[in-house]
Amino acid sequence: MTQMTFARAINSGLRKSLENDPKVILMGEDIGALGGVFRVTDGLQKDFGKHRVVDTPLAESGIMGTAVGLAYRGYRPVVEIQFDGFIYPAFDQIVSQVAKTHYRTQGAVKMPITVRVPFGGGIGSPEHHSESPEAYFTHTSGLRVVSPSSPQDAYTMIQQAISCDDPVLYFEPKRRYHDKGDVDETLDPGSALPLEKARVITDGRDVTLVAYGPLVKTARDAAIAAADEGISIEVIDLRSLAPVDYAAVEASVRKTGRLVITHEAGQSGGLGAEVAASITERCFYYLEAAPVRVTGFDVPYPYSKLEMHHLPSLDRILDGVDRALGRPNSLSGLEG
C-alpha cells in the first residue's frame, strides 16, 4: 500500500500499462515534457520516449482520428483530452468512428482506445474547463464509459480500460486529483472488481444514494452527516456509467425502497434520468417514492464565483434524501 494522490495513481496505472504492453501509446496535447496540465503524465515521456508518449498538434479531431488509425495498426492508444470542454471537436471521430468501427466491420477491427477526460467543476476555472459531458457518451452505443472515485480505483480502472478491447471513455474527477488515498500497486487489474461493476461504498437501510466520480466523496460525507440524524444511507459508486450495473442498484433499492441520484451534469437528459427510469422499470413495486435527482442545473457551466451553487453539495443531497424519505424538505408543500 502506498499513499498517493488521485493524479499520481493514474500516472502509476499508465506507467504499468506502458510497461506491460508495447502497443500502448499515449497521445495528447502537452502530455510530454509538461506532463499534462495536471501532471497526470508526469515523467512518462522521459521514461518511455517520444514514440510512446506523443505530444500531438493542437487538434482534437486529429488526435482521435489518428488514434483510430493507430488502433487499425494494432496499437492501444490512450488519448488525453486536456479538459472536458475540449472533447467536442473530437465528437465526430468518437461517435462515428471510435464507437462504430467494431460493429461496422463485424468485429474484424477492434478499437481498444482509452480516452482520458479530466471532467467536472469545483476548481474555480473559466468557461469550458468544468463540464460534465458524460451523458453524450453514455448514450452512444459502442462506447464504454467509466469514472473512478478513489486513487485505488483510478489506478486499477485505467489499466482495465486500456486492456479492454472496446473503446472506453475514462472520466477523471479533476477536483479530486489532489485527494490522497492508499493504493495497492501490486493489485492485479485482472482480479480486481471488473470495470463494469458498481461498488457499494457505505451500507445503509433507508435510502440508496447513487453517485459517481467527483460526487462520491460528497455522497459519502452526506451519508456520515445523515447518520447523525438517524438516517441510514447506502451509497453506491457507479464506476461504470455505460453500462450501469443495474443489478447492484436494483439490489439496493429493493432493500431501501428509495433512490437518490446525484451528478454535476445538468438534470435534463443526464445520466440520472437514465438511472431513475431504469430502476423504476426494474423495481417499481419496491419504490416508496419517486427517484430523486440532485444535479447541476440546465445551464452552461457557470462562472466560478457561482459554481458552488450549481454543483450538488452535501446539503443539497441531504435535501434530496429528505424528499425521497418524505421528510420536510425545501419543496415540501409543492404539488407533484
Binding site: I25, H51, T56, P57, A59, S61, G62, M64, G65, T66, A67, V68, G69, L70, A71, Y72, R73, G74, Y75, P77, P89, D92, Q93, S96, Q97, K100, H102, Y103, R104, T105, Q106, G107, A108, V109, K110, S141, G142, R144, C164, D165, D166, E196, A242, P243, V244, D245, Y246, A247
Partner: protein, 392 residues
Amino acid sequence: MFTDDAGKGGIAAGGPGNSENSARRTGGDLVQLITPAGERISHPEFDPWLQDVSDEQLCSLYEDMVVIRRIDAEATALQRQGELALWPPLLGQEAAQIGSARTLREDDFVFPSYRDNGVAYCRGVKPEDLVRAWRGNASAGWNPFTVNVATQQIIIGSQSLHATGYAMGIQNDGADCVAVAYFGDGATSEGDVNEAMVFAASFQAPVVFICQNNHWAISEPVRLQSHIHLADRASGFGIPSMRVDGNDVLAVMAATRIALDRARHGGGPTFIEAVTYRMGPHTTADDPTRYRDANELEDWAAKDPISRMKSLLDRKGLLTADLEAAVAAKADAVAKELRAGTINMPEPQPLDIFKHVYSTPNSWLDRQQDHYSRYLASFGDPAEAASEEGAR
C-alpha cells in the same frame, strides 16, 4: 489484379533513387503522359518511374479499368432492378483508381471512400463484397485485414486521419509500408483532411493522400471548395504535391510510385491531386441534370480514361481481337459473379443487429437482446415482427 512487386522498397527498374526534384515542387502544371488521343508523351521526371511497365502490364491495366467499369454498370443495373438500395458510380474515374491502386504493395494499407470500388477491386475485394453494404446486408463490405483496405468511409474526409494514424504506427514499427487515403475534392474542405495534413507533416508520416478531383461534390462544383488547385493546398502544410491527369492511368501510376517511394524512404507524406471527372450521378439517387450542364459531360467524355488507354494500346499494336475478347470475357465473368453474389447473398438474421457492438458482454445490450428475442418468439414468423404497419 496484381500487387506492384516492382514497387517493393522503391521501384526495381529505373526508379530514380532520389525523388526530391520531381515531387517537392508543387504542380500547377497538370502532368499528362497519355493524351486523350492515346499518344504517349514523354516526361523526364515521370517516365523513369514507368520503365518496368511492360506491354503485358499495360494490357492488364486496361483490363482492370474495363472490368471495374463493368462492375459499376452492373451494380447500377442491380440498383435499378431493386437488388441494391443505392450505388455510387465511379464512371470516369477508372484510371485514377486503377492507376494508383495497382502501384501499391500488399502490405500497404488503404483507407478509401464509398466511391473507391476500383481501388478495392484491385486490392482483391470480392465483387459481392463491393455491394454488400449497398444492398443493406451489412454496414460494410469486407474484413479490412484480409485485403489491407479499410471499409469504405462515408463520413467525408474522416479516413484521411485514420490513414495518417496508421502511418504513424508504421513509423513506430520501423516498417516500410505506406498508408494511403483516398478522398474527393469536396473532402478537402473538411477540417479532418486539413488536420490530417497537419499531423502527417508534423510527424513526417508515411502516408499518401490521393485526392480524386472529379469536379463535383454532389451538386457543388469544385470552385466552391477552392479557387486554386487542390494540389496547392498541401504545400501550405509543407507537404509536397503533384497534380496529374487523373484520366491518364500512367500519370497516376508514376505519381503514386513517386509518393510511395518517398514514404518508404522516410520522406514523409505526399498529396496527389488526380484531376478527373464524375461522369455519372453522385449516386443512383441523384439527378445531375438539376445542377450541371450537359456540355461539360461531353467535354469530359472526350477525355475518357478507357478510350484513351485503348487508343494507346492500338497505337502500340496491342489492341488485338484476342485481347478485346479476353477483356470482355473477364468483364462478363466478373459481372456475372457480382450479380450472382448479390442475388444469393445470405439474409442477415434479426438478432444480428446486437452482434459486435462490443467485443465483450455488455449488460445493457444483453438485456435488450434477451427482451427482443422474447418479443420475436411471440410471433409466428419473425418477419412479421418487423412490419411497420403491424401484424396483430
